[in-house]
């Protein structure tokens, strides 16, 4: 409570206008050399101090200066910095020129310290809010795709609210999810994610999606340990700093911006399905002919037509519950479609006989090629944003409200986000400044779709266990009705719900309330030293509820079931630090700056869960209605750390920059004799072009940099001592068992050592630039739960072990190919290659399991190999690579589990093209951008493929007449491979030979996919046209004399425009970007992915 009072007091300060002592005031206007217009937001600082201000919307400023101030500096991103010596002026007007070289770019570094990028000895890369908002995405992380070298962004699916996983410089940890730390305005916040894995659950998203891109000024990626070293134990996976938009002084009153965005989502990647054969089994011409051959059954072949065979032996619908002929069979090996067969089907008209049983009227057995696609809607996402800024030279503030309404491509899925953000700064005195920032967000979804192998995921059925003859419109029109047997209306009740029933009835809702904010007090002790106190917290509370209606496939006679959970999370950080910046020597050639301070952090988490597997009153989802014993669970955890840290930076003239940091952490999760540990880092940058004269037309800028850092991490709470765990009570008696993961009282902190070197070059007056980084990092003594032989009674144990090395190169480059007043064309390139090696595990342990899937397939870490080896059953091959078939013509499998690929990509990259046409001084300016990104490698085990082959739903299972003639390996099935018999002899390739033992029934051939993992391994390489945007900025003169509207922008965009290329192994066409949530274990396994969607949108913003 005290915290809140404190925050409120702060908010009240802002806007109050306190008088204070006057000294000399300087004022003036800063204008743009190109159009003579005032530039808002120019930073004006007294050189060598932290005193300064910024210009208002008209480019005007005023600043109180003291006699001892010597030099004023005017800087603005993209403009050349100007310095003016102070004498006794009262008005200083400055014209700023565009800086084509952009060498004075200011970036935010650790603990929110702004630094000129050129002075840094390590790699950081930032993305502006404008870029993030070019093509609006509902999860801000998606906007980073392809924009930052070395950052891999994986969006779990195109479903509403889906998680996005982001990794920087590869995977370095066995234990954590390898996700970076997120810091908003200097305060770490939560990116919690849970709920989904490959076996089901709704994807409840990752918590960073609460941050609306509209409120972001910039995002900075601190890639390596050196950049992030000041964050100590949390910097292991890199840090993403988010700077929010702030208020600006505006003497003309309030500045109001309203923007609106609408995006339309459409599913754009679905696997290739066959459209030749319908539901059930043994219905192909091949099966029919075999039947006639082997089963006389009194049928004369000539008299037993395909129609008769089908309705009597293959498929005839009665109740979808095996009451008819195979009407519960959910495979697609049934009879031929579109050849005039007529059969009883689930949507055939019927009359009731005397006993009340339905008598169907057979209807045409025809394909519905778009039945899966037709299930999906056009999703609509709308965002309204109003931002009010205002202030004067004492106080500024910004109040923003964002309303985001997303209707998903899956029917009845949605997300509603309301977010209010206030940020204010108030100069109480000359020396004392207070600021506060608070955001409240409500994120609500009435239903989020299920994922993975779960009946709640519509794709589990539609993606393989489905019929190509099913008319989706019938399912849509009647899903709320009951059939003649009183069951819900569906195409096959035995295994499946009507997909509309699934999404309208069996919902997963989520409601999250979140408050995050910070309050900062800064006091200038003198002109080179200040002290800052900052307290920040991120608090959220979330409830989730999943219900299953009675008579669903998951609860046929149990009255329905449900679970409900609530979680709350809070992280509080309090920092106190001194900030200094002082120049010495003649003309200030030596400059020393830095900080020293302490941090207190407290992390608490609370979880409650209750569930009823059966209900007394059907469909009444209350825990008091539970039939039998309710399942309940509760969990809480607490973690505290204390830290001290310091950073010193030294520069000599403007060409040599040295820096060092140190941080000590005390962590409550470690044993007391090992809970303190220290992390140092050093870095250096050298700007060659500032030391020696080089013709800027040739080499404009050259910098070389190098750094070394050590960071690390502590344990999870409660990893030290053993205990007992409870299960749901039986007959009112508690059930207790010993823990399965053996804890370890001797854990010590883990460590990551890394170094990097970089080269930053700009040529041809800065029109071409290259930024190159090589890094090498090693994470050792990892705190990891290794699997142990279960004959010990334990599944795993916590130990310090393992070593993962990551080394790689990152390349960022740009070329301004053409640049003139009315047309420009520039290209930005990002490319990164990371080489990851698991150096060792523990003892002689050969594998560490990261994830697993069907039939023994697993994703492993193995010594000497890249993290993420896929192991499973391969085809048995001879020395020449031919696949060996058995006596029945079926491909054989290896006797042992073999390496089939690796889930980690070889490289990732993106190319962005920027065009501008015209300018705002004349007819306005059109900005046109398109972004292409891609990756090489990154293998995937596709369950959609495995079961799609098994079930006969994929296109290739009906290609080359396999269902008419039967399949011969290499002849009309798997034609890209060659096959031999066990004795090395060739296969009999004659499909017409009645004695050919190499002919296999088509279903038997493809059933084999279940035991042959290699068949379903897909190389995840892709090239995507990620984004296109076209914006129009109206001519400035339109607004010059306007009292009301000060500006208007409009743009059109498309996100996930096209999957331009995939590897040939991706023959079924799945989206290679696939994951479950953002955990490690969901990587490299695709299991009924919800299809990716393309967004086409429109946005405009108007400034008043």
């Amino acid at each position: 409570m005290r915290k809140i009072t404190f925050l409120l007091a702060f908010l009240l300060f802002v806007g109050m206008n306190m008088a204070n002592a006057q000294t000399r005031t300087i004022h003036g206007t800063i204008v743009d050399s190109e159009d003579g217009q005032g530039i808002p937001g120019v930073t004006i600082t007294v050189k060598g101090t932290t005193v300064g201000t910024t210009t208002d919307l008209d480019g005007k400023y005023s600043l109180e200066v003291k006699p001892e101030y010597k030099l004023l500096q005017f800087s603005y991103v993209g403009m050349k910095t100007v310095e003016i010596t102070l004498s006794d002026q009262t008005e200083i007007n400055v014209t700023l020129e565009p800086d084509v070289m952009q060498m004075d770019e200011v970036v935010v570094t650790a603990l929110g310290v702004s630094r000129e990028k050129k002075t840094l000895g390590y790699a950081v890369q930032d993305v502006s809010g404008d870029q993030l908002n070019q093509a609006k995405t509902d999860n801000v992380l998606n906007a980073l795709s392809g924009r930052v070298a070395g950052v891999q962004v994986t969006n779990a699916s195109g479903a509403v609210g889906a998680s996005t996983r982001i990794t920087i410089r590869g995977n370095s940890s066995f234990r954590s999810d390898n996700q970076p730390l997120f810091v908003v305005d200097g305060v770490p916040i939560s990116n919690y994610s849970s709920g989904v894995d490959q076996w089901g659950g709704a994807d409840f998203g990752n918590a960073i999606m609460d941050i609306d891109p509209e409120n972001i000024e910039s995002m900075t990626v601190l890639k390596g340990a050196s950049a992030a070293a000041l964050y100590g134990s949390r910097a292991l996976n890199g840090v993403i700093l988010i700077t929010t938009k702030k208020g600006k002084a505006n003497n003309n009153g309030l500045g109001v911006t309203y923007s609106y965005n609408v995006g339309f989502d459409k599913v754009y990647i679905l696997p290739n399905y066959q459209n030749k054969y319908g539901q059930a089994g043994y219905g192909s011409e091949y099966a029919y002919n075999q039947y006639l051959k082997t089963n006389d059954n009194g049928h004369n072949a000539d008299n037993y037509s395909y129609q008769q065979y089908t309705e009597q032996q293959v498929y005839s619908y009665y109740d979808g519950n095996w009451g008819g002929v195979n009407d519960g069979w959910d495979e697609s090996w049934g009879s031929r479609l579109d050849i005039g067969l007529k059969l009883n089907q689930f949507d055939s008209p019927y009359t009731l006989d005397a006993d009340g049983n339905p008598v169907y009227e057979a209807t045409p057995w025809v394909s519905h090629p778009d039945n899966v696609k037709n299930f999906f809607n056009t999703g609509v996402s709308q965002t309204h944003n109003v931002a009010i800024t205002g202030g004067n030279d004492k106080a500024t503030g910004r109040l923003s409200y964002v309303y985001n309404d997303v209707q998903g491509v899956i029917p009845n899925t949605d997300m509603y986000k309301n977010s209010v953000n206030f940020t204010g700064t108030y100069k109480m005195t000359d020396r004392f400044q207070a600021s506060a920032n608070v955001t409240y967000t409500n994120n609500y979804s009435s239903n989020l779709p299920g994922n993975g192998y779960d009946p709640n995921n519509v794709m589990q059925s539609l993606g393989s266990w489905f019929g190509r003859q099913v008319n989706m419109q019938s399912l849509k029109d009647h899903w709320m009705e009951l059939d003649p047997f009183g069951k819900p209306y569906t195409w096959s009740y035995y295994y499946h719900n009507n997909p509309y029933w699934t999404v309208y009835k069996n919902t997963s809702s989520r409601n999250r309330n979140r408050v995050m904010g910070n309050a900062t007090l800064k006091y200038d002790i003198n002109n080179w030293l200040n002290i800052t106190f900052r307290a920040g917290t991120d608090f959220w509370s979330e409830s989730r509820k999943h219900v299953v209606y009675n008579m669903s496939n998951e609860s046929k006679n149990q009255g329905g079931n449900f679970w409900e959970s609530t979680r709350s999370f809070q992280e509080t950080n309090i920092d106190l630090y001194l900030n200094f910046d002082k120049s010495f020597g003649k003309d200030g050639i030596h400059r020393v700056s830095g900080l020293a301070g302490a941090n207190y952090r407290n992390n608490s988490y609370l979880y409650n869960y209750m569930a009823a597997d059966e209900l007394t009153v059907p469909n009444f989802f209350d825990i008091g209605n539970a039939k039998g014993t309710a399942n309940v669970d509760m969990y809480k955890s607490l973690r505290t750390t204390n830290s001290v840290y310091a950073q010193v930076d030294y520069s000599f003239k403007d060409f040599l920059f040295l820096g060092a940091t140190i941080r000590g952490d005390w962590s409550s999760t470690l044993p007391s004799d090992d809970w303190n540990y220290w992390y140092p880092s050093v870095n250096a940058a050298f700007i060659l072009t500032n030391l020696i004269e080089v013709d800027p037309k040739v080499l404009t800028f050259a910098k070389i940099r190098a750094s070394f850092a050590k960071v690390g991490g502590d344990a999870d709470p409660y990893s030290l001592y053993n205990y007992y765990r409870s299960a749901t009570p039986f007959a009112g008696v508690s059930l207790y068992h010993y823990l399965r993961q053996n804890n370890n009282p001797n854990l010590k902190p883990e460590a990551q050592n890394s170094w990097e070197i970089g080269l930053d070059l700009k040529f041809w007056n800065g029109r071409v630039g290259v930024d190159f980084t090589y890094y090498d990092q090693k994470t050792t003594d990892q705190i990891m739960a290794i699997d142990v032989a279960t004959s010990t009674g334990f599944d795993s144990r916590w130990i310090n072990a393992g070593e993962i090395g990551n080394s790689g190169v990152e390349l960022g480059a740009y070329v301004d190919i053409f640049k003139s007043k009315n047309f420009s064309w520039g290209v930005d390139l990002n490319w990164a290659k990371n080489k990851n090696v698991v150096n060792k595990l523990y003892g002689d342990l050969e594998s560490y399991q990261i994830g697993s899937s069907w039939g023994g397939l697993s994703i492993q870490a193995r010594p000497g190999e890249t993290y993420g080896v896929i192991k499973g059953y391969a085809f048995l091959r001879d020395d020449n690579g031919n696949i060996i078939v058995d006596g029945g013509g079926l491909p054989e499998r290896s006797s042992t589990l073999e390496e089939l690929g690796n889930v980690v990509p070889d490289w990732t990259g993106g190319i962005n093209n920027r065009f501008t046409f015209g300018n705002t001084s004349d007819w306005g300016q059109i900005n046109f951008n398109f972004l292409i990104d891609g990756r090489k490698g990154g293998d995937i085990f596709s369950v959609t493929k495995m079961f799609g082959l098994y079930s006969g739903i994929l296109e290739q299972t009906a290609d080359n007449n396999v269902r008419e003639t039967g399949a011969i390996a290499g002849v009309n099935a798997m034609t890209n491979e060659s096959f031999v018999h066990e004795d090395g002899s060739a296969l009999n390739t004659d499909l017409n030979d009645p004695d050919n033992t190499d002919i296999v029934a088509p279903s038997d051939f493809y059933y084999n996919s279940y035991k042959l993992h290699e068949w379903s391994i897909i190389d995840g390489s892709f090239i995507k046209l990620r984004e296109i945007s076209v914006g129009y900025a109206l001519p400035k003169r339109l607004f010059e004399n306007s009292k009301v509207i000060k500006g208007f922008d409009v743009s059109l965009y498309a996100h996930n425009v096209a999957l331009l290329w995939v590897d040939s192994s991706n023959d079924i066409k799945i989206d290679p970007e696939t994951a479950f949530g953002n955990s490690n274990s969901g990587q490299g396994i695709e299991q009924y992915q919800l299809p990716a969607s393309r967004t086409i949108g429109f946005k405009f913003s108007v400034r008043f």
Partner: protein, 495 residues
């Protein structure tokens, strides 16, 4: 400058104060969610429930063992019945055995500390019950060094010879029996089993009967490979009914009655709520039809035309139409608060019958044989009149040569063990009754083996995580399930 010095000092002092403030940290890092100690009866409770859910459900029994022994089989997704196993299922059941054993080990430790001989004996009895099941399933397994990670830092336990494990199990059962007999003079409050005993409701006398009945089960299992030792063990129990009591009626049998509601419904009933993949096997249905056995309508449901039809075990695709196959009878399939049988009274009677017959005490054998059948009839709620008629049938009547009588014992025991997948499969391998050839749809080729599985595949996890000890055990295993017979499996000419 002095001011600056003061500020710096202030920050440093605050920093120092903050970092040294680690009061209560060690307490805070003790898990508030899970207790460090629990009553032993609650460990027993969890062990019993896990036995039911982990070793007597569709993955252990319905899918595999009951098909191997010809009682029920899969009619949809026939993988396991065709010996196509899921490696993770094998890994999980192996793990589950050791999980229960570590809990029983903790229970035993606590019982010794609490000087509660009854609880100690219960832990031993239950532990032996599960060890025998695991040994019968795999043969050599980690035993003496298993679950010693905490006490001896042993994370890669060696494998013990199955035969040696059996020897130790006999010793442990005798010790347990002694403990049961050693309670005189101990206050009743000190020897409570507690409300976690879902099998016998805390009745130590019944536990003692199970302890000795189990010893009969172990003894009869080794009767072909080591008749002398078997005889010793059988005599030790059967000649001392006062000191070594065994099941005296169906009231004594070891079984778990489930709750009628989720999540603790009887596993077969729970399975049937969402699946209908299992049905009667033809070996069982044909045998009971041949016998004119009145229990058949209890074990099985008729098909639409009123007949009883079983499916071939582990058949290839399209070998039959599922709607022409009898499903499992309601008593065993659809009673949510039904039973999981760990050991029946009938089994004890058939063991006595077999040992008496082989020992030449025919009258005793006959009495036990009939008592066994009677117990089974009672369980299936068949009228006494039917029983009287049944035991008079030629195929059932106690006559013929010793071998013929032995076959009758095997046959009736096999029928009476309905649903006890583990014991059925073990006895099928020991007696070769019924003779179960390879499944017609065998994943390994029906022609390659003349019998069903000899053993269960070792888990992949042991190969990865305990390779030094597990890899040598793989030698000689053929097609995962064959190659090495259990030490008590004396069948010859089988492969």
């Amino acid at each position: 400058m002095k001011k600056i010095f003061n500020y710096t000092l202030l920050v440093l002092l605050i920093g120092l104060f903050a970092t040294s403030c680690t009061k209560n940290w060690e307490e805070n890092n003790i898990d508030p969610n899970n207790p460090v100690d629990v009553p032993m009866t609650n460990l027993l409770a969890n062990s019993i429930i896990n036995t039911g859910t982990d070793f007597f459900d569709e993955w252990q029994g319905m899918n595999n063992f009951l098909s191997y022994s010809g009682q029920i089989t899969k009619i949809y997704y026939i993988d396991e019945a065709r010996y196509q196993f899921r490696p993770n299922v094998v890994d999980n059941v192996w793990r589950d055995y050791y999980r229960v054993q570590i809990d029983l080990g903790k229970m035993k430790e606590k019982a010794i500390a609490a000087e509660n001989p009854v609880m100690q004996a219960v832990a031993e009895t239950y532990s032996v019950f599960l060890w025998q099941m695991a040994v019968d399933q795999w043969g050599n397994i980690p035993y003496s060094e298993a679950i010693t990670a905490e006490s001896a830092e042993n994370w890669t336990p060696k494998y013990d010879n199955a035969k040696d494990i059996y020897t130790d199990l006999f010793v442990r059962l005798e010790e347990a029996n002694k403990l049961f007999n050693s309670t005189t003079g101990i206050p009743a409050s000190q020897i409570q089993i507690g409300n976690g005993d879902f099998i016998y409701g805390g009745d130590a006398a019944k536990w003692q009967k199970w302890c000795n009945s189990l010893r009969l089960r172990l003894a009869i299992r080794i009767s072909n490979v080591n008749p002398a030792e078997a005889k010793n063990q059988l005599e030790a129990v059967l000649t001392d009914p006062a000191g070594h009591p065994v099941f005296a009626s169906r009231d004594d049998e070891a079984k778990l009655k489930w709750e009628a509601t989720a999540p603790y419904k009887e596993p077969w009933a729970l399975n049937h709520e969402s699946r209908d993949d299992h049905a009667m096997a033809e070996t069982f249905v044909n045998k009971l039809l041949e016998l004119g056995d009145p229990r058949l309508p209890v074990y099985a449901l008729p098909i639409a035309d009123g007949r009883y039809v079983g499916a071939p075990e582990g058949a290839p695709n399209n070998a039959f139409s599922p709607d022409t196959i009898s499903r499992i009878g309601t008593l065993y399939r659809d009673i949510p608060d039904g039973y999981t049988y760990f050991m029946r009274y009938a089994e004890v009677q058939f063991i006595i019958a077999e040992s008496a017959l082989r020992g030449g005490v025919d009258a005793m054998a006959q009495a036990a044989y009939l008592e066994g059948i009677k117990a089974s009839f009672e369980e299936t709620e068949i009228a006494d009149t039917c029983y009287a008629k049944y035991i008079d049938k030629d195929a059932v009547k106690w006559d013929g040569s010793t071998d013929e009588k032995l076959m009758k014992v095997y046959e009736q025991k096999w029928i009476s063990l309905f649903k006890e997948g583990q014991e059925l499969w073990a006895e099928q391998r020991r007696t070769d009754y019924p003779e179960m050839p390879s499944a017609s749809g065998s994943f390994y080729g029906p022609e390659n083996h003349n019998r069903g599985p000899f053993r269960y595949p070792y888990p992949v996890s042991e190969q990865n995580l305990n390779p030094v000890n597990s890899l040598p055990e793989l030698e000689g295993i053929v097609d995962d399930f064959w190659g090495k017979q259990l030490f008590w499996d004396t069948r010859t000419g089988v492969h």
